[in-house]
């Protein structure tokens, strides 16, 4: 259903409901697209689409609804370039490379924000998406499943892989640092 984008009352309700989430939508776009200019365009497109389809939003959680629109926008516009069809089949990924031995104390060194961001950005698409929706946007497995269009169990296994890859990167960066 497409509503009248010129209805002022509707536009006002939309602004109040959607604008407070702009930073989060932008953050997700940056991690999904890994490019600032594309993220700007995708976020703007997302808000215009959301306003247009605001009538299909039935109250409840505004954030997952915006995230789903953003994700579709990213996929539709950037698939050929970024949101790869080079996507890895769930099972084709070899088990993440485990560090041979964990440091004996098993304590992870503290890492600065930039290197954590870089490690997250380096993850393959579907794992990066899962981990950002979970750790940054703080969504539940059900909400992530709905946005990504996969079963809840797949969300858990994607998070397991995402975190294992991050942990391997974390530990190997530590080895280099020592």
């Amino acid at each position: 259903m497409v509503g009248d984008v010129h209805d002022p009352e509707r536009a006002r309700r939309f602004r109040e409901a959607a604008l407070p989430h702009l930073d989060e939508v932008y953050t997700l776009a940056r991690y999904l697209l890994r490019n600032a200019a594309d993220a700007d365009d995708a976020v703007q497109e997302c808000y215009l689409r959301a306003l247009k389809h605001f009538d299909t939003f039935r109250g409840g959680a505004m954030r997952p609804w915006l995230f789903a629109i953003l994700r579709n926008t990213c996929r539709a516009t950037y698939t050929p370039r970024r949101f790869a069809d080079q996507e890895l089949a769930e099972d084709a990924v070899p088990l993440w490379s485990e560090p041979q031995e964990t440091p004996e104390a098993g304590i992870l060194r503290r890492r600065d924000e930039q290197s954590i961001r870089n490690m997250v950005s380096a993850l393959p698409d579907q794992f990066r998406e899962a981990i950002v929706l979970r750790e940054v946007n703080d969504l539940s497995y059900n909400e992530i499943a709905e946005i990504a269009g996969v079963p809840v169990g797949t969300v858990m296994s994607r998070l397991a892989r995402a975190r294992s890859m991050l942990r391997a990167a974390w530990l190997s960066a530590e080895e280099k640092a020592q």
Binding site: P8, R15, E24, D40, G106, L108, Y141, R167
Partner: protein, 256 residues
């Protein structure tokens, strides 16, 4: 008994609080007897803590925010002010900058000049604190550390209230400037949402009721009490920020 392969996936459900009781107990039982899985669980938790405590989060650039506000504000101006419609349409087709100017005209049109300047300053200070990742000059979740830090830097040290039990984590404090005057900024966080609470001296020692307003996509709450003037701003929902105000007031009254 659960195998390591099963546990390695399920322990993420455990970390995220997404398992039913029976599965959670199964994973815990496995971890209790398996040193390797126990180490992994601990590391994943540390990692998660570092990631959620770290700002993985980014702030939308001001230019993008203005562009979007302008794009979705135009219809409002059209209906309420026919004479401005023409002007705004002109702006909308112009540069992003003039569109932004048009948007702020619409947003501020009902506010007094003083309020306008004040809230504009508050929004800029809030954005700056997020963008520069310069939230706090003193970082601590302990009010006994944050409050004394302000002494000597401001005429009156602001009240700093521990609201951890109410779900608002103290991040720290810094000095900022609002309306040309130095003020205390006390920073709280709930989940991914940052709250800047600006505290300045108030001419009036009494209590004034809180006023909630949305400004440029942020929610704000303003009130005065005990000789202080408070302005809270955040991207959290209006209800949540009102709750923050209530909890803070309750804490202040209790002399916490």
């Amino acid at each position: 008994m659960m195998t390591c392969d099963e546990a390695k996936v399920l322990l993420h459900g455990l970390i995220d609080g997404e398992l039913d009781m029976a599965s959670a107990r199964g994973v815990e039982a496995h971890v209790a007897g398996c040193e390797q899985c126990a180490t992994e669980l601990r590391q994943f938790r540390e990692m998660r803590h570092a990631m959620t405590g770290t700002s993985l989060r980014l702030a939308a650039p001001a230019a993008l925010r203005s562009r979007i506000e302008a794009a979705i504000s135009v219809p409002v101006a059209r209906a309420s002010q026919p004479s401005r419609r023409f002007l705004l349409r002109g702006f909308a087709f112009g540069t992003a900058l003039s569109a932004a100017a048009a948007a702020s005209v619409v947003l501020f049109v009902t506010r007094s000049g003083e309020d306008e300047r004040l809230l504009g300053d508050v929004v800029s200070a809030h954005r700056r604190s997020l963008q520069a990742e310069h939230l706090a000059d003193v970082r601590s979740t302990d009010q006994q550390v944050v409050r004394p830090w302000f002494s000597g830097k401001l005429a009156v040290a602001p009240p700093v209230i521990d609201l951890a039990a109410q779900g608002f984590t103290l991040v720290g404090g810094r000095l900022d400037t609002i309306d040309g005057k130095p003020v205390a900024a006390i920073v709280y966080r709930r989940g991914v949402h940052v709250i800047n609470l600006f505290v300045g001296a108030s001419a009036n020692a009494g209590h004034t009721a809180a006023l909630g307003e949305a400004v440029q996509g942020f929610n704000t709450q303003r009130w005065s009490d005990q000789g202080f003037r408070f302005i809270a701003i955040s991207d959290m929902g209006a209800d949540e920020l009102r709750d923050f105000h209530i909890q803070f007031e309750t804490g202040l009254r209790a002399g916490a």
